[in-house]
């Protein structure tokens, strides 16, 4: 295996990881604010079709990404209206959002089946990605760099800013945050909208970058992976990046194991591909067990996660 092989493998892995990283970062912020939105898959699909539709109509993929973010955020705000204003059950409403998003994206997508747009690929001069090392750094879609930057922005926001502290307070103890004058519902609305926008951009990565087309249900369950990753990452942005790359590596291993491409690895070649396919889920369970062991039975989940905000007025 030469340098070319390794670099091509890294590029494939980053391609698999980016959309779930984008959606996972959004969901991480939502859950830090104490809201559990299981509608990631639906918001990704809505983002995928709105991003594609806007790109077809304007010819500009940047506007397409904005459209995807807006589509995702709007569908998330609909979810927010139910769970935050009407206090409906978050799990049930989130599942309903996924079903709604799947259906709505299919409906909008009807007139876009069979159309294509130019791939939203690297915006660097092609000369930079001519040699393998150049490809390793410059051959990606702008969305890849955006996702990486957002890892640092989200980590910094949650750890180092006053607004991030308020958001975490709302997620850890909503009544206390309320009692010292912060708008719990307002903060949660903002977080939910941000989560929807990120899921929408993650969805647009499928319809504008990986395969620049629209196909019903094209996200194929990646929204659920993103949800699992947030738990795997124990609600930390840096670990989410590692987790998403880990998922990419495992899928790459699975595909290579199937094609007999792991023969260069002494033991990996004889491991069945199903093992690699099952690993992300197994690892999530293991990580959860490790976290609860370290915390002596406690959990690193935000304390108010999934609970409706009912102040005693």
């Amino acid at each position: 295996m030469g340098t070319d092989f390794v670099i091509a493998a890294i590029i494939t892995i980053i391609g698999i990881s980016t959309p779930i990283l984008l959606a996972g970062l959004g969901e991480l912020v939502v859950e830090k604010a104490g809201v559990l939105n299981l509608g990631v898959e639906g918001m990704m699909l809505i983002g995928a079709i709105t991003g594609f539709a806007v790109t077809v109509m304007t010819g500009n993929p940047w506007l397409g990404v904005l459209g995807a973010a807006a589509g995702g955020a709007l569908s998330a705000l609909l979810f927010g209206f139910f769970v935050l204003t009407l206090n409906s059950n978050q799990v049930a409403t989130g599942l309903a959002l996924t079903i709604f998003g799947t259906g709505l994206s299919s409906l909008i997508g009807l007139s876009f089946v069979g159309r294509i747009v130019p791939q939203f690929g690297s915006s660097f001069p092609p000369a930079l990605s001519r040699d393998p090392i150049g490809r390793l750094f410059f051959s990606y879609s702008p969305l890849v760099y955006f996702a990486l930057a957002m890892v640092f922005v989200v980590a910094w926001f949650l750890r180092r800013t006053r607004s991030g502290l308020i958001l975490r307070a709302v997620g850890e103890n909503d009544l206390s945050a309320h009692s010292i004058g912060y708008s719990v519902i307002g903060v949660r609305y903002l977080a939910v909208a941000f989560g929807g926008a990120m899921a929408g951009i993650g969805g647009a990565y499928f319809s504008l970058v990986i395969t620049p087309m629209w196909a019903e249900r094209m996200t194929s369950g990646r929204g659920w992976i993103a949800l699992a990753l947030v738990v795997f990452a124990s609600w930390k942005a840096g670990r989410l990046l590692i987790g998403s790359l880990f998922f990419g590596v495992l899928m790459w291993l699975e595909l290579n194991a199937k094609a007999g491409g792991l023969s260069f690895m002494p033991y990996a070649g004889s491991i069945p591909s199903q093992f690699w396919a099952a690993m992300p889920y197994l690892m999530t369970v293991v990580v959860l067990a490790l976290i609860s062991m370290r915390d002596r039975g406690g959990s690193s989940a935000p304390a108010c996660l999934g609970k409706p905000f009912l102040p005693a007025t």
């Binding site: 091509a8 087309m213 196909a215 019903e216 094209m218 194929s220 199937k258 007999g260 591909s273």
Partner: protein, 360 residues
């Protein structure tokens, strides 16, 4: 109490009997309901899309006597059973199930509804009211393999498979056998992605195959994802189920189009005429069920001629890609020189021919 109930029932039945002829008159004659159960979304632009075109052909040809109903996105597991049951209870007299994985579910539901006729696509279990139908896609794959054998420079080709089911095994073997007739050294790397429709995984698998040295990839999954990756890399591939050239104008050499309309119309007509009987139908290029899309101008004329020869051979019955000698991956002679594998063996094929590299 019981008496009262019975009296009430009789009264209601009498009223219903009085009303029924009226509704009968209002609708002149009741339309035959035909159900379709699809694996993917009808917008997949591949397998399910092609079956839905067949359904639309039934509507166009027999719409005045027939009403079609379809259910899409039905998984190949136990959840398919209530879908078939529900269609039968809605009054469908003929129900098509359009994927291999509905086999046992359809056997079960067909036994529960003896007066409803069922048709299962690509399966091999039949009953008095359960027919099977299939298309000899492998004839089309032989045409694609012939082209691939000439168009692949490295002789290492990729095959993006869904599941290890006979239809796909046949496609793989047919493709590489035909390619080896053009390039005896040709080999095939095979990946199963455990799904018929997963565009991001199809894309990642295609990149993986290319990274393992393949310079041409053909797909047996249902989306145009692989073709789009090949288009980005300036390489070649083939469409599956439908002409996918609009997704990859340069990479798309040609495609196998599944034309189900004529078969669906024939079987619906048979139910209307009362002549329907359980059967095992396997149509191919000669019957117009398997159609090869227009060729990409990038294919040289002599290669097009070779492909046309294979097509003509299937129409005339003078060509069969499964003509011996055929060796399996272990090097064992499975089909003797001059022998042709019969369709009954093809229907349950579970071994790969020499030149196929896979961990499956």
């Amino acid at each position: 109490m019981a008496k009262l109930n019975r009296r009430a029932f009789i009264a209601a039945a009498g009223a219903a009997a009085a009303v029924l002829p009226l509704t009968g008159n209002a609708f002149a004659q009741e339309k035959l309901k035909v159900g379709f159960v699809f694996l993917g979304p009808i917008g997949d632009y591949g397998w399910t899309w092609a079956h839905n075109k067949g359904r639309e052909a039934v509507d166009a040809a027999l719409g005045d006597q027939v009403e079609t109903i379809y259910v899409e996105n039905v998984a190949e597991d136990a959840s398919a059973i209530p879908v078939f049951r529900d269609l039968a209870q809605q009054g469908c007299k003929l129900i098509f199930g359009a994927t291999y994985g509905y086999m046992d579910q359809m056997v079960q539901v067909a036994a529960e509804f003896p007066d409803v006729k069922f048709e299962h696509c690509t399966g091999f279990k039949r009953a008095d009211n359960l027919a099977t139908y299939n298309s000899r896609f492998h004839e089309g794959r032989a045409v694609l393999g012939t082209i691939a054998g000439k168009m692949s420079k490295s002789g290492v080709m990729g095959y993006l498979g869904s599941y290890k089911v006979p239809e796909v095994v046949l496609g793989v073997n047919s493709f590489i056998l035909a390619a080896q007739k053009q390039n005896p050294a040709a080999t095939l790397k095979l990946v199963f992605i455990d799904s018929w429709f997963d565009p991001p995984k199809e894309a990642a698998a295609t990149e993986t195959l290319l990274n393992l040295g393949c310079d041409l990839v053909t797909t047996h999954t249902d989306s145009p994802a692989a073709l789009q990756i090949l288009e980005q890399r300036g390489l070649y591939g083939f469409g599956q189920g439908a002409d996918m050239s609009s997704f990859a104008p340069n990479a798309h050499l040609t495609a196998i189009e599944d034309i189900w309309g004529p078969y669906y119309i024939e079987r619906v007509q048979a139910v209307l005429d009362g002549t329907w009987a359980s059967a095992d139908t396997w149509d191919g290029i000669a019957d117009g069920t398997v159609v090869i899309s227009p060729y990409n101008p990038a294919i040289p004329a002599d290669v097009v001629a070779l492909a046309e020869e294979v097509k003509a051979g299937y129409v005339a019955g003078t060509y069969d890609v499964f003509t011996g000698p055929i060796y399996d991956t272990e090097g064992t002679l499975r089909v003797k020189d001059g022998e042709i594998l019969p369709l009954s063996d093809l229907a349950v094929m579970d071994w790969f021919v020499k030149g196929v590299e896979t961990a499956a």
